[in-house]
């Protein structure tokens, strides 16, 4: 039986992890490779690296990091952040990334999704969507959720599926950082209306939130950052509790 996936997300800047990471037992908590190794051994099903660098050398720095992760880690990982062309994707996949995620660049140039899926296959193209509710309607936002667009979340999600996305990483800006649970209503609607996997993101605060997003939100995977980085939730405890709730997980 296909299991539900637990995905820690690491924010990367200039090849280093950012946002506090509270791993006292790590020699270098800023080293994404070491952190990735810890998470893979702890039972993470997949990893996401989100690059937020804005330097000239970012492409090469990120490619080097991807290569070092691939060398060390034996679970799949996705790389996102600033990807806007076939060349960007090619260099990341060549260096060992399993999937890439595109966000703002896909909104600005939707044909990019078709091009990437055609060239590399849908299975390695994740489209990340940031959205928040404005006057009762879920609107897609850009630039890490700062810039609103006129796009409706569900319409955009259907379009990216048609254009060849292999899965969707949906972050609710209304829930992100609140530690109050995932946007399960919107997630369930996405899952019902689409036929590709949906990753829930934004709002994880405790173990029950994960149970809820798989049961009520019908999510295929759940992504979180700080609850894992600050050891508020141990992946082994989380998976055991999911199992106790009859949610299929890899233990």
């Amino acid at each position: 039986m296909l299991t539900k996936r637990i995905i820690p997300c690491l924010d990367i800047k200039n090849g280093r992890t950012v946002k506090g990471v509270n791993f006292v037992d790590l020699r270098d908590a800023g080293d994404p490779v070491e952190l990735a190794d810890v998470y893979s051994k702890a039972g993470a099903d997949e990893l996401v690296f989100l690059d937020i660098s804005a330097t000239e050398e970012r492409r090469k720095t990120l490619a080097d990091l991807v290569l070092r992760v691939a060398e060390k880690v034996n679970i799949p990982f996705t790389v996102g952040g600033g990807i806007s062309s076939i060349e960007d994707v090619d260099i990341l996949l060549q260096n060992g990334a399993d999937k890439v995620s595109v966000n703002s660049s896909a909104v600005k140039n939707p044909d990019l999704i078709n091009e990437l899926a055609g060239k590399f296959g849908s299975q390695c193209i994740t489209v990340a969507i940031d959205a928040k509710k404005i006057d009762g309607e879920w609107k897609v936002h850009l630039v890490g959720g700062k810039v609103p667009t006129e796009l409706n979340l569900f319409e955009w999600a259907k379009e990216v599926e048609q254009r060849g996305a292999g899965e969707i990483l949906f972050t609710s800006m209304d829930h992100d950082g609140t530690k109050d649970g995932f946007a399960n209503e919107a997630l369930a609607k996405l899952s019902e209306e689409l036929n590709i996997p949906i990753i829930a993101s934004g709002g994880a605060g405790n173990i029950l939130h994960f149970v809820d997003t798989f049961n009520k939100g019908k999510s295929d995977a759940a992504l979180a950052a700080s609850v894992f980085h600050f050891k508020e939730i141990e992946i082994s405890d989380l998976k055991q509790e999911l199992k106790n709730n009859d949610i299929p997980v890899r233990i």
């Binding site: 539900k4 893979s40 060549q94 060992g96 399993d98 299975q123 996997p197 890899r250």
Partner: protein, 193 residues
């Protein structure tokens, strides 16, 4: 031991190379027919779309070489699918090593299947020291049905082949290089055949 990963421009071969390194072996990437023929073990990877991968294989003349190889050959993911007779993806004729067609998932499940599923009914030296129902990582939209050549199966809407074997030819739908310690054991078993 000489291990060659066939490099025909399709897929994430770096990860396979690294996984082999972690097991203490070295692999070379090559599309040179002579080098491939002389290898002790050949890995035939593949990620992406079937018809364009098959096209690349033909351009390098490897479509006629691979079926004639005598040493153990391991096809991974799309590599395994291309070793079958035919795949619905891109209406593509394969290498006809495994006697089956590859079909698109169409059983009320999300496509692609992405994530960890269990393998069972294990029947190959590939699975030495691997227990039934271990978890392996998969990402695919097409599948090989269960046949006499099936040596591992999983269920996603229906039961299907997650590994095939015929003589010296092995194929896994899952990615051993991405399937944690279980995957590395399977890769090790192949290298030590």
């Amino acid at each position: 031991m000489k291990i060659v990963i066939i490099n025909y421009g399709a897929g994430n071969i770096q990860s396979i190379k690294f996984a082999i390194q972690r097991l203490g072996y070295e692999a070379v990437l090559s599309n040179d027919p002579e080098e491939i023929q002389q290898a002790d073990k050949v890995i035939f990877p593949g990620v992406g779309e079937a018809s364009s991968a098959m096209q690349k294989l033909k351009e390098s003349g490897l479509d006629t070489l691979v079926p004639k190889l005598k040493q153990p050959v391991l096809g991974i993911c799309l590599g395994m699918q291309l070793m079958c007779n035919y795949t619905e993806e891109g209406d593509t004729r394969g290498l006809a090593i495994f006697d089956t067609n590859v079909l698109r998932f169409n059983h009320g499940v999300k496509v692609p299947q992405i994530g960890w599923n269990q393998i069972e009914e294990l029947k190959s030296p590939l699975f030495k020291d691997v227990t039934e129902k271990e978890y392996i990582y998969l990402v695919h939209s097409y599948y090989a049905p269960i046949t006499e050549e099936t040596v591992a199966q999983s269920t996603y809407g229906i039961a299907y082949s997650t590994a095939l074997q015929k003589n010296n030819f092995y194929g896994t739908q899952f990615h051993p290089e991405k399937s944690s310690d279980v995957g590395e054991q399977i890769l090790k078993n192949f290298l030590e055949l």
